[in-house]
């Protein structure tokens, strides 16, 4: 039998990073946040409220395993174990299934808090584009949620939809953004809301001989339009930021900016000391959870469970 080459076009790069500037031996409180989403899982470790390590990996079929994997990548590389952690908070879709977490917090609260830390206190609207849902959150200068809207009924306009689309047109998912701009003029958007119907629509376009780049533009524009409908109800205030995987897709982000007439904030750390650190929009939820854990432990609201 001829060997079949299987390429997974949806597969996005996973990541891990350890802060070289922090000596955790000198640090006090070590907290962790684990965000088990429907598509990706992240773990963030903080030492005294400063970013120490994070990992970003794909969620498997088993939530506890995904949580363990995300955390072990982040702490293992740093030479830590679960026993060294003072407090751990789980968040995201699979938060009830994080075995090492002492408590859970909704991802809405965590994303607002995480975005506040990443982009700064001027953030007023956070749009989290998750794997299978999207949430629009308005927050105050401390990252406290003021109101929010969530669409978790269907995968239209979410990360998983983009992955399905990448696989269908056989283009790596991170190339879709840049390539969607290599077009002569903006094509009409994909009109189906449902990912399954959108897929059929794309197949139809491919058969008609529409150039691939045009189809990518049509899909990105459709996704931007979908997100905008959610944001319209809540109202968008500057500074407006996008977190989650779709924030890395400029094809969607730029089209959304154009449709809303509001620019998204640059994806750089608010804290100037963090300038050299990698900026990953996907860690916002886990970062928020770790920050909550840090403030709870340092304010004495919860007891540390550290064993050594």
């Amino acid at each position: 039998m001829a060997e079949e080459i299987i390429k997974e076009y949806w597969r996005w790069p996973e990541g891990i990073w350890i802060n070289p500037d922090i000596d955790r031996e000198k640090g006090g409180i070590i907290t962790a946040g684990i965000d088990v989403g429907s598509v990706s899982s992240q773990a963030v470790v903080l030492v005294d409220g400063e970013l120490y390590a994070f990992s970003n990996t794909r969620t498997g079929s088993d939530s506890p395993d995904s949580a363990r994997k995300a955390l072990s990548i982040a702490v293992g590389e740093a030479g830590l174990t679960v026993d060294n952690i003072d407090y751990c908070i789980g968040t995201g879709y699979g938060r009830v299934n994080v075995p090492m977490a002492q408590r859970t917090i909704t991802e809405i609260a965590c994303h607002a808090r995480g975005a506040n830390f990443m982009y700064g206190p001027e953030v007023r609207t956070v749009m989290d584009m998750g794997g299978q849902d999207c949430k629009a959150i308005n927050c105050d200068d401390k990252g406290k949620v003021l109101n929010f809207m969530m669409n978790d009924k269907c995968a239209a306009g979410t990360g998983r939809g983009m992955e399905v689309f990448a696989d269908l047109i056989r283009v790596p998912v991170w190339e879709i953004g840049p390539r969607s701009f290599q077009i002569k003029k903006e094509p009409p958007i994909i009109s189906s809301t449902c990912v399954v119907f959108a897929k059929s629509e794309v197949v139809g376009l491919l058969e008609k001989g529409v150039p691939e780049n045009d189809i990518m533009a049509a899909y990105c524009a459709a996704m931007a339009h979908r997100i905008m409908e959610l944001l319209n109800r809540l109202g968008v205030h500057e500074k407006f930021v996008i977190t989650g995987g779709i924030a890395k897709n400029e094809g969607v982000v730029k089209r959304l900016e154009k449709e809303l007439g509001v620019k998204t904030a640059a994806q750089v750390w608010h804290n100037p000391a963090y300038k050299a650190y990698p900026f990953d929009t996907q860690i916002a939820g886990a970062l928020g959870a770790a920050l909550f854990a840090d403030s709870m432990v340092s304010k004495g609201k919860v007891k540390s469970v550290r064993k050594k």
């Binding site: 109101n147 929010f148 809207m149 669409n151 009924k153 809301t193």
Partner: protein
Amino acid sequence: MQAFYGYKDGSGEWFIIIDTDRCDGCGRCVAACPANALEVGEDRFDPLSEKPVARVKEGERKKIRYTCAPCRPGYGDAPPPCIAACQPGAISHTEAWQQSYVKK
């Protein structure tokens, strides 16, 4: 905080909105709700706050349209039991239910 409990789909926006700044956690709405969809507990969206507030049960959120429909929120002069019971006026519904009763 305005907590939106519910969902949005092709048929409209189906949300119960609870204003947690007004809610005093008295629990009268919990007793009033004939569908038993409400509860009083920790504010899920503000983990650092200690004040208990009314919230919609997690299992009800994705079927809120049908849970609330028998009380006909927004229809006629009488408010649904939860809103009538709430003295601080913290509970409201989106317009989707009201619109669904309008004859076409």
